[in-house]
């Protein structure tokens, strides 16, 4: 009983997605390019079936503002057929790999009249139910800078400089204070030595904690004067 249920569920899970999924086609959403450059429009698909030998790819083009589409590329029976009469005559090249489910095309020497929507439709018999996917091509004279890039850059640089100046300032103060401390320690040591030589008799060595206290007091006074 249990094994029957398990088998049934496996079979159902295997069949149902095939029936409801169909073929799923992926292209980009939007592509930007410069006038005169080349662009690769990628198209790939997902299908539960193995890639058949009769897999077909076809690309159609619809100009901006128009309602008609024309076909510009078709791959079938192992051979690629490119546009030889329309606006993309001699400019389309097949750069995909049907065995790897890749039906990408390369469009060369772009012009402003190539602005529009490119639709890729792929079929993997017997898996033929699917929705074609479209990618929009925008051709620019010069690629515009995204909003906010320069803004962010200027703000970042100025604030960074500010932080740097603050850090350097505190570093200098720390270093100068340390030099003053070491100088005052050596001065104190010298004075005590001279004093002991004048008096006579051995004098116990200077207490390091007392020397430190005297030096830190001197440091505090100099800081107050600075402010």
């Amino acid at each position: 009983m249990l094994t029957f249920l398990a088998l049934a569920s496996v079979v159902l899970l295997g069949i149902v997605p095939e029936q409801t999924q169909g073929i799923v086609i992926y292209t980009g959403w939007e592509r930007h390019a410069l006038v005169g450059s080349d662009i690769r429009l990628s198209c790939s698909f997902f299908s539960w079936r193995w890639t058949s030998e009769d897999v077909t790819f076809s690309w159609t083009y619809r100009p901006d503002g128009s309602r008609d589409s024309i076909s510009i590329f078709h791959y079938t029976g192992g051979a690629a057929y490119v546009d030889n009469k329309g606006p993309f005559r001699d400019r389309v090249e097949f750069v995909g790999n049907p065995g790897r489910r890749d039906g990408s095309i390369l469009i060369k020497n772009l012009d402003f009249s190539d602005n529009g929507t490119f639709t890729c439709d792929a079929k993997n018999p017997p898996d033929i139910v699917g929705r074609p996917s479209s990618v929009r091509l925008l051709v620019f004279e010069k690629v515009p800078i995204q909003a906010g890039v320069i803004t962010g850059a200027i703000i970042g640089v100025v604030l960074g400089l500010l932080v740097l100046i603050v850090v350097i300032y505190y570093l200098m103060r720390f270093l100068v204070a340390r030099r003053v401390f070491s100088l005052s320690v050596s001065k104190h040591g010298k004075k005590k030595k001279e004093g002991s030589q004048q008096r006579q008799g051995p004098v116990p060595p200077a207490d390091p904690s007392k020397v430190k206290a005297a030096a830190s007091e001197k440091k505090k006074e100099s800081r107050k004067d600075k402010k």
């Binding site: 800078i145 995204q146 803004t151 200027i154 703000i155």
Partner: protein
């Protein structure tokens, strides 16, 4: 003494508020068909309200950055003023506060100048300048005077 303090703080806050309004409210140029500012270009062409984001130029982004920086520096200087009020020695000068405020006013000035010079590139010529633009220009001397007062002021007990 307290009156002087209140007056100075009021001046600073007024400059800050003007900076905020000028940066946020959308009226740097205005015409019959629409308004535009640092962030977006709105116009009512035949059929409806239609807005373009300001991606059209490097200069407008520089103006945006400079206005935001001036707001940041002005806020920083207000904060530093209160800090220095309580930690400065008697007779000391509010140098840091004044420096930041003067820098903020310089940023506003450069932003307004850049906008004035480059605005024909992103708004049609013949548009009148709107009130946000005027507020930016008014904020500049206010911030400058406030900064100079801080630099001259001495802390008394």
């Amino acid at each position: 003494m307290l009156l002087l303090l209140l007056g100075i703080i009021l001046l600073h806050v007024a400059a800050l508020v003007l900076l905020f309004v000028s940066t946020i409210v959308s009226v740097w140029t205005s015409s019959e068909t629409g308004t535009s500012d640092l962030w977006i270009n709105c116009s009512t062409s035949n059929g409806g309200y239609h807005c373009d984001p300001a991606t059209s130029g490097e200069w407008i982004q520089a103006v945006q950055a400079v206005m935001i920086l001036s707001i940041i520096f002005s806020c920083l200087s207000l904060f530093l003023f209160f800090c220095q009020l309580f930690t400065l020695q008697k007779g000391g000068r509010f140098f840091l506060t004044g420096t930041f405020q003067i820098l903020a006013s310089l940023f506003v000035m450069s932003g307004a100048i850049i906008y004035t010079v480059m605005s024909p590139e992103w708004v049609p010529e013949g548009d009148a300048f709107g009130y946000s633009y005027i507020l930016a220009w008014v904020a500049f001397p206010l911030a400058l005077i406030s900064g100079l007062i801080y630099v001259i002021l001495r802390k008394r007990e």
